[in-house]
């Protein structure tokens, strides 16, 4: 029983972290129908941005409430810069090309970013320890143990998702985003600046990825150049599972994946070595019986 509770907590923490990346996937796909494989790398460079700030810029001893915001700002700044450059230089010129061109470009950007960091960031050929800026202790309830960092992730991640949801529903730019997602040609005719809306989508995704990167770093205590790819695949899976284009769906999908990975490792056939397999089996089953995901909308055949 204690083990089950602990596994659920593990799943929640993992889901919260994946969810922040999944939001970026779901937003970009919703707007320009691009699986932005490089989004995981936006998350990764955010983590390295924060690492750089703390290792080379900040003084050694800083209380967490001072250091944490600085790291968040640094991570977000780096993530957003990379995302904007990526959109402007790599994706925008391909807006009218066939649909595989941006996808291949995304894979290229992903490889490029991983390798640039690995080769040029000092020490990045191996995992780097991330500074323990946040209280390095845990919350204990009976035999249940949760790191405070995990509590923070589980609390902050849905809050950010809710804020994003509110922003997309209420703000002017958010309305424009929804219009573009619905029908880009009509939206353009209505006077919506497509480039601005798409760029804004990338920026919003990058902000969340940057924040996610800091939460990830302080929770696991280490970062490496491949963290974006693996978690990016999970995040994309989460976005698809939840129904791509849906903010609530992405969070739901992420928690679902966290849970499945955690519980399958404990209880399912094959043990931890097959935990990924169960995540993907779930995905395939869901897509076969509900192709639009949990909360997605089915696209109608148009003739």
């Amino acid at each position: 029983m204690a083990t089950l509770a602990q596994q659920i907590v593990n799943g929640l923490v993992l889901g919260a972290l994946i969810g922040l990346i999944a939001l970026g996937y779901t937003m970009v796909y919703g707007i320009i129908k691009l699986i932005n494989f490089a989004h995981g790398e936006v998350f990764m460079v955010g983590a390295f941005g924060a690492h750089f700030t703390s290792a080379y810029l900040l003084p050694d001893a800083m209380p967490w409430y001072a250091a944490l915001p600085v790291l968040c700002v640094a991570a977000v700044a780096v993530s957003v810069t990379v995302a904007v450059l990526m959109e402007r230089l790599a994706y925008r010129p391909l807006r009218d090309a066939h649909s595989l061109a941006p996808l291949i470009t995304a894979l290229g950007v992903s490889i490029l970013l991983q390798e640039v960091v690995r080769v040029f960031y000092p020490g990045a050929t191996a995992p780097l320890p991330f500074p323990r800026v946040f209280v390095d202790s845990q919350l204990t309830a009976g035999s249940l143990i949760v790191q405070w960092t995990g509590v923070l992730a589980v609390a902050v991640s849905p809050l950010l998702a809710a804020a994003l949801h509110w922003y997309v529903e209420r703000s002017r730019l958010g309305r424009a985003m929804r219009a573009v997602a619905e029908d880009p040609d009509t939206a353009r005719l209505m006077g919506i600046d497509l480039n601005r809306v798409i760029l804004a989508t990338f920026v919003l995704g990058a902000v969340l990825a940057g924040l996610g990167a800091v939460l990830y770093g302080i929770h696991y205590g280490q970062i490496d150049t491949t963290m974006g790819f693996q978690n990016g695949i999970f995040a994309f899976t989460a976005a698809v599972l939840g129904g791509i284009g849906s903010i609530r769906g992405a969070m739901l999908g992420a928690f679902c994946i966290g849970m499945v990975k955690s519980l399958a490792g404990q209880y399912a056939w094959g043990g931890a070595q097959y935990d990924y397999v169960w995540v993907f089996v779930l995905l395939i089953l869901v897509l076969m019986f509900r192709p639009q995901g949990f909360l997605g909308r089915l696209e109608r055949v148009r003739a």
């Binding site: 602990q6 693996q230 490792g265």
Partner: protein, 413 residues
């Protein structure tokens, strides 16, 4: 439009002219030292390196490459091979057997190549061995630990030499695993041990050999779990292991997984030592989360207690390589020196042509090689091509650094 491109072009022109005149002014003479003081009239001999130099294992691969580079440069300074200049040619195998086999073939075709240091991955070595077997090109691995590579699939019961041109300077899994098991049970008194691996050959084989020895010693393996090599969240696996109440965790993984694993074990209140082998004997393990009391059993004497070992470390640092020597640099250094010393003997009598007879002669010299002056102490090979060095040292994390607690020979029982 026209004027714009015109301006751009004249700009280019100007840059070209400036570059040209600048370069003309500078004159370069040959750098003294290296080749200058020795007789290199007979040409160039090449020591090949095959290692993963990009991707996740690049830290290890680059350490191997730099260490061979160091050995080659030292040899050139000392005129170790009379009449020849030595060079290193490093090929990235990306930890991919297909790429490794192509690189090995490239070396085998090249008469100037005298031997290969590599590969790091046992999987790559399995593809290289048949490629170069008929060419008799000598291969010394600094990192393959799969016993089957030298002694065949029946290595425990009916060992048989696989390839006469294949050697290695590291201890195999069936030494490393059992040595660790004995230390945990006999010295530390552990009774219930859990195993974590990452699906890589070295981890799986080590864990299997470890398990055999643990069972012989009468202790219990409470569970064995495999994590994904790209994973960073081990909370689920550790929660499962915690429920099995172990008193130690054996990890077959290297520090990039074992470090975070140790950190997350602590986070979950699983306060038992993590024990591993060469792969975690690295300061990064501690930086990434290794705790006081975690254990590493590594081949050879403590490097800083051997004069030859500390000499290697000193020399490596002096070269200012951008990367560290990693877990396998010292082995690669030893392997390169075996090749260099043996080629010196072969070329003492006849000029090197790269003919199969000469390559066979070189293999014989390597087989006969023996010293106790390697960076890891004893360097030499038994009848299977395995390292004769069966000395192990156990280290523990003590006040934030690895500290040796015990050294001893491994005797099979």
């Amino acid at each position: 439009m026209r004027t714009k491109s015109g301006a751009a072009l004249s700009g280019l022109l100007a840059i070209g002219v400036v570059l040209g005149t600048g370069a003309c002014g500078a004159s370069k003479t040959e750098s003294p030292g290296a080749a200058g003081s020795c007789d290199t009239s007979k040409g160039t001999l090449v020591v090949g390196v095959i290692a993963p130099m990009s991707g996740k294992l690049s830290a290890i691969g680059l350490g191997i490459r730099n260490s061979v580079q160091l050995a080659v440069e030292q040899a050139n300074e000392k005129c170790a091979v009379k009449g020849y200049q030595l060079k290193m040619d490093a090929q990235d195998d990306e930890a991919n057997p297909d790429k490794g086999a192509a690189a090995a073939q490239r070396f085998a075709d090249d008469a100037n190549v005298v031997g290969i240091v590599g590969s790091y991955n046992s999987g790559v070595a399995r593809a290289i061995q048949p490629k170069i077997a008929s060419t008799k090109l000598v291969q010394i691995s600094p990192g393959n630990t799969d016993p089957a590579l030298t002694r065949g699939a029946e290595y425990a019961t009916a060992p048989k030499r696989q390839h006469e041109n294949y050697f290695r300077v590291v201890g195999t899994d069936d030494l490393q695993g059992p040595y660790n098991a004995r230390f945990l049970v006999q010295d530390e008194g552990k009774k219930r041990i859990a195993i974590i691996t990452d699906g890589k050959a070295v981890a799986e084989n080590m864990a299997t050999e470890f398990t055999k020895e643990i069972e012989k010693l009468g202790a219990t393996i409470v569970g064995r779990e495999k994590v994904n090599e790209n994973d960073s969240d081990f909370s689920s696996v550790l929660t499962k292991i915690k429920s099995l109440k172990p008193d130690a965790i054996f990890t077959g993984c290297d520090y990039s997984i074992s470090g975070p694993l140790a950190k997350q074990a602590k986070d979950l209140g699983l306060n038992v030592p993590v024990s591993g082998n060469d792969g975690i004997f690295d300061p990064q393990f501690i930086a990434l989360g290794g705790r006081e009391g975690d254990i590493a059993a590594s081949v050879g004497a403590p490097i800083d207690k051997l004069p030859t070992g500390s000499a290697f470390v000193e020399a490596y640092k002096k070269k200012n390589f951008p990367e560290g020597y990693g877990g396998f640099g010292s082995f690669a250094f030893d392997a390169a020196n075996v090749i260099i010393s043996s080629i010196g003997k072969v070329t003492a009598s006849a000029a090197w042509t790269g003919a199969p007879e000469q390559r066979t002669a070189l293999v014989k010299e390597v087989q006969a090689y023996s010293t106790d002056q390697g960076a890891n102490g004893v360097v030499g090979f038994d009848e299977y091509g395995d390292s004769k060095n069966k000395l192990f040292t156990v280290y523990k994390v003590t006040s934030g650094a690895w500290k040796d607690v015990k050294s001893g020979q491994f005797e099979a029982k």
